[in-house]
């Protein structure tokens, strides 16, 4: 019995310890927001890397998902003669759920992995130690710009993804399912409320924050050698994906609970 409790307790305590360390890491990172100097060049680089360079993957993901969603909704609603609801359901599905979640997951795949691998490699090759000896705090120079950039730019990516997703649905609906262009678009946009867009953008900000923070955390705490870098990268992506999905549930509850 004691052995069983120990087997359950040890990982639980480990998880609590990691959570605590991550909370301290987050607080220390954010504390640098109020303490100059600020590394504007690093922030600009992170905005470009996370925002601009993620546009293609976000765009294609949203486009294909919006199109597939239109096909699915059409096929499903056809069973009870509700095909006129396709534009609205595609729009609300993209803006409330699929847009932010898919963009978050794509950012996790592209950005979190890259941040974790880059910082872990810097750690393995003593570049982070070099920063310290050059009087530069690694949290201020490496972590804060990435976290700040992702928090600011992922909502913009989500907005772009939402619009492209709706357009993907519109293309399929008009070219494949016989809908008329103008009324389809009007139905989509008229149906959406301000809270839908706000929830989408807030989710984007939270997901961006989580993606960058976890990438940095796993990078900074990586083990030695190529195996350490690989584990850090894998762990960061898995943790970011789970964190995004969990945060999505909580945020959906907060915005739309009846």
């Amino acid at each position: 019995m004691i052995r069983l409790l120990a087997r359950i307790g040890a990982p639980a305590l480990g998880l609590l310890a990691v959570t605590g360390r991550l909370a301290i890491f987050t607080a220390r990172t954010l504390s640098h927001l109020a303490r100059p100097p600020f590394h504007g060049r690093e922030l600009g680089r992170a905005l470009f890397q996370i925002g601009w360079l993620s546009l293609p993957v976000v765009g294609f993901t949203a486009l294909f998902t919006g199109g597939a969603l239109a096909l699915q909704i059409y096929a499903g609603s056809d069973r009870f003669g509700a095909q006129e609801a396709v534009p609205q359901i595609v729009a609300i599905g993209m803006v409330r759920e699929l847009g932010p979640v898919l963009v978050g997951l794509m950012v996790a795949a592209r950005v979190t992995s890259s941040i974790a691998a880059e910082i872990a490699t810097m750690k393995v090759t003593e570049q982070i130690d070099a920063l310290v000896t050059l009087s530069t705090h690694p949290l201020k120079y490496l972590v804060l710009p990435r976290v700040l950039a992702a928090t600011l730019v992922v909502p913009a990516l989500v907005a772009v993804g939402d619009v492209i997703g709706i357009m993907g649905g519109w293309i399929v609906a008009t070219e494949r399912l016989g809908y008329v262009s103008g009324p389809y678009l009007r139905s989509s946009l008229d149906f959406l409320e301000r809270v839908d867009w706000i929830s989408s953008l807030v989710k984007g900000g939270v997901f961006g924050f989580l993606c960058a923070l976890l990438g940095c955390w796993f990078g900074m705490t990586s083990g030695r050698g190529a195996m350490g870098v690989g584990r850090a990268t894998k762990g960061a992506v898995v943790a970011a994906a789970i964190a995004i999905l969990a945060a999505n549930l909580l945020l959906t509850e907060a915005f739309f609970a009846a």
């Binding site: 810097m122 130690d129 310290v132 000896t133 050059l134 009087s135």
Partner: protein, 250 residues
């Protein structure tokens, strides 16, 4: 006697049950070039990292310029400090000149001026200005080492650490790096600590030598006495014999 630039007393550090540093006492005088030698895995790098606060010691005290630095090197010390890391540790994402001028830019020097200082530092280590705009990944290993040395000296520090400066270099390039280190240390009048297991580095760079083995400094003395020492640890290290007090199986 003036306060040593670096003073270490009773420094201990273990990894799990394995002691790596087992009560190190060490003073480095201002302007002195100390070379710490020892076999691979004897804790030379750990000692440097503890002195800088990159690694927390289990026990002991560290004083830098008379100030307690046991919890980490104070900012004032780091501001006049330069270090050459074993692998160079140049920042991949920055061009060479920004690497070399990193501290200068960090201290608010205008980019044009910082770039000129970086190019001058690169010239001092035998690299042309053409290298300034390349990225570290575009340089050979020897050029990376030189660029890293340029970064270490660019802000004209008064304390320099060199971690295995000739590791992975051919003998000719190693001699070039050793000569550059000696020239720069002399030109800057800096206090220098070098860790190495390269005897050529000892001969070219050291004023004083310390031999680290089994977590303790087994021998310290002027470089002139190093090669004539009858200490069995020193003798075995110099001759490279497999039998002796330094076990080959660690």
């Amino acid at each position: 006697m003036s306060t040593p630039a670096i003073s270490v007393r009773g420094l201990r550090k273990s990894f799990g049950a394995t002691p790596v540093l087992d009560g190190i006492d060490l003073d480095v005088a201002r302007g002195e070039s100390l070379v710490i030698v020892g076999g691979s895995g004897t804790g030379k790098s750990v000692l440097l990292r503890c002195i800088l606060g990159l690694m927390r010691a289990d026990a002991g005290t560290i004083r830098l310029d008379g100030q307690d630095a046991t919890g980490g090197a104070p900012e004032a010390f780091l501001r006049r400090f330069g270090m050459l890391f074993q692998g160079g540790a140049l920042f991949d994402s920055l061009p060479v000149w920004r690497n070399v001028a990193f501290r200068l830019l960090h201290d608010g020097m205008p980019p044009n001026e910082a770039r000129a200082r970086a190019v001058a530092a690169l010239a001092a280590v035998g690299l042309s200005g053409r290298v300034a705009d390349l990225y570290p990944a575009e340089l050979s290993g020897g050029m990376q080492k030189r660029a890293a040395l340029a970064r270490a000296i660019a802000a004209r520090p008064s304390v320099l650490f060199f971690d295995e400066p000739t590791a992975g270099l051919d003998p000719i390039l190693a001699t070039v790096i050793n000569r550059l280190i000696r020239e720069q240390v002399t030109a800057l009048g800096a206090t220098a600590v070098t860790i190495t297991h390269d005897l050529t580095t000892v001969r070219m760079v050291a004023d004083r030598v310390a031999l680290l083995h089994d977590g303790r400094l087994r021998w310290t003395g002027p470089v002139s006495a190093f090669e004539t020492s009858d200490d069995p640890h020193v003798a075995q290290f110099i001759t490279g014999r497999a039998d002796g007090p330094i076990a080959t199986l660690r």
